[in-house]
């Protein structure tokens, strides 16, 4: 059964000089545990789509169903990670990791235990009393991920979550996050402008058209079992996918 259903989402918003159409009848579904990458020409409305699924922005029309129930507003079953880690500098890593639970008023023994387990499993336990400025970019991103995972979301949205990192750290963090998400069996929807990243992590890649964004293609990625985002970059199929998406993203890219 499908975990997440995006049904015919349209979004347009009002600006001083008229109405701007951002999303044009977008529909797709996701299975439990699946990793879906979304790519599209820059400024096409990828992030708008994610904001709608996160419940931060109401769609002009269309519905989002999670486990058969409609999502209205910010939903505790959906976690959202932004481009920057947004760790609060005045809180220790431990207090930062608890922020999501605190805001959702769910600071009970069970979730505290879960936060402890996550910190231990992902190598941040020794750093729990440190402040964000004392951590490397990769560790900060991991702490931000744990902050979201501590709230036990069923679906995770990643909004260009690695683009603020330098290239070296980025490859490292991508591998890291991919491993964590697979292990925690989190259904993930990732928006990126980085084509290799979309292929290396995704089970499928959703290619959007230019603004107003519509679905151009849903491309299944088959790079064999047991792959990691780093190892699969050497697969000969990788560059074929890359060229395909690259062509699709160009204006009138079907020719």
């Amino acid at each position: 059964m499908n975990l997440l259903e995006i049904q015919d989402i349209t979004e347009s918003y009002q600006a001083e000089n008229g109405e701007i159409a951002a999303l044009d009848h977008i529909s797709f579904t996701m299975e439990r545990g699946e990793f879906l990458s979304i790519v599209g020409p820059s400024g096409c409305g990828k992030s708008t789509l994610l904001s709608i699924i996160a419940g931060l922005l109401p769609p002009s029309s269309g519905r989002i169903l999670l486990d058969g129930r409609e999502v209205t507003g910010v939903d505790p079953r959906i976690g959202y990670m932004l481009q920057k880690d947004n760790l609060l500098e005045w809180r220790t890593i431990w207090k930062n990791v608890l922020l999501g639970l605190e805001l959702r008023r769910r600071l009970d023994e069970e979730s505290l235990d879960r936060a402890r387990v996550l910190l231990r499993s992902y190598g941040l336990w020794e750093f729990r009393e440190k402040y964000p400025s004392q951590l490397s970019g990769g560790m900060r991103q991991r702490a931000a991920l744990i902050r979201t995972l501590a709230t036990s979301p069923e679906v995770l949205l990643l909004d260009e979550a690695f683009s603020a990192l330098d290239y070296q750290t980025r490859l490292e963090v991508t591998d890291d996050v991919y491993r964590i998400l697979r292990r925690e069996e989190i259904t993930t929807l990732m928006v990126t402008h980085d084509i290799p990243e979309s292929i290396s992590m995704g089970d499928r890649v959703l290619i959007l058209t230019g603004r107003p964004a519509g679905v151009r293609e849903l491309l299944p990625i088959d790079l064999g079992p047991g792959r990691t985002p780093l190892s699969c970059r050497d697969d000969p199929r990788f560059s074929r996918y890359f060229n395909h998406i690259w062509k699709e993203l160009k204006p009138n890219g079907t020719q």
Binding site: G79, N86, W90, L99, L103
Partner: protein, 269 residues
């Protein structure tokens, strides 16, 4: 501290530290030396009759005046009155200022409506409101505290509102993804990230509050350093004026240092 592998300081490092320490002492010595030289010069010129000590007073006479003030117990009365009024105006200014800033942050509509009023009130010399304040709350301590409040309030509001608005929008967005309410966003994100602005405004306010108190004491008062200064001027006791002004500078410096200490204790630099 940078150390080399054996744990001992390298000669270059030692030389650097020594030079830095020497420079720090030099500056301190010059600061004190300059003060002592100016006071000595003032005393010598007054004794030689080059400057008129009836108008400009002189250190030895200021010293004697302090002695008299302490002997009669007057000094503590005036000092305490001014300090008490300043702290009262300061605390009220911070409390109401931060409160109003929260209101303006909360409601963008209220903020837009009050913008022109804030601009006018901010540029208005609040001392001009003196007569109105006296008629409104009566001549006395209340009027003086009110004056201090009037001078520091709008600055606090603008400073704090600016601080609240400079909060990283991405941090607020992050909190919203966890379903944070507006009150939660304020308590957990906006206010803690505005602590720098808060201490900045406290430092400005303690000085402004003192300005308000002295201005108030000039207008209506029976005690306080401002009263001593005005009284001394009226009866041509310039020794008293000078003695009070010097105490006032010390009070101002100490209060500022007090706020700076508070900031250090709060762990914000």
């Amino acid at each position: 501290m940078e150390r080399n592998e054996t744990g001992a300081l390298s000669p270059q490092r030692r030389e650097y530290l020594r030079r830095r320490e020497r420079r720090r002492r030099q500056i301190l010595a010059w600061q004190w030396g300059l003060l002592i030289a100016l006071v000595a010069l003032w005393e010598l010129l007054a004794r030689a009759g080059v400057i008129d000590s009836f108008i400009l007073s002189q250190p030895s006479r200021v010293w004697r005046t302090w002695g008299n003030l302490i002997a009669t117990g007057e000094l503590w009365l005036h000092l305490w009155t001014t300090v008490y009024e300043t702290l009262a105006g300061f605390l009220l200014g911070v409390l109401f200022g931060v409160g109003l800033a929260i209101l303006l942050w909360w409601s963008d509509f209220v903020a837009k409506v009050s913008e022109p009023y804030l601009v006018v009130l901010n540029s208005l010399p609040k001392i001009a409101l003196g007569p109105v304040i006296i008629i409104l709350v009566g001549a006395g301590t209340k009027a003086i505290v009110f004056m201090a409040l009037a001078i520091s309030l709008i600055v606090t509001v603008l400073e704090m509102l600016g601080g609240f608005r400079r909060t990283d929008p991405d941090a607020i967005r992050m909190a919203r993804t966890f379903g944070a309410t507006k009150a939660q966003i304020f308590r957990k994100i906006v206010f803690p990230s505005s602590l720098g602005a808060l201490f900045g405004s406290l430092k400005i306010n303690i000085g402004l509050s003192l300005v308000g108190v002295i201005a108030g004491e000039f207008l209506v008062s029976k005690a306080g350093l401002g009263y001593l200064i005005v009284y001394g001027g009226q009866v041509f006791k310039l020794d008293l004026v000078m003695a009070s002004v010097i105490i006032l500078s010390a009070v101002a410096a100490l209060m500022y240092q007090g706020v700076a200490l508070l900031q250090k204790l709060a762990g914000h630099h």
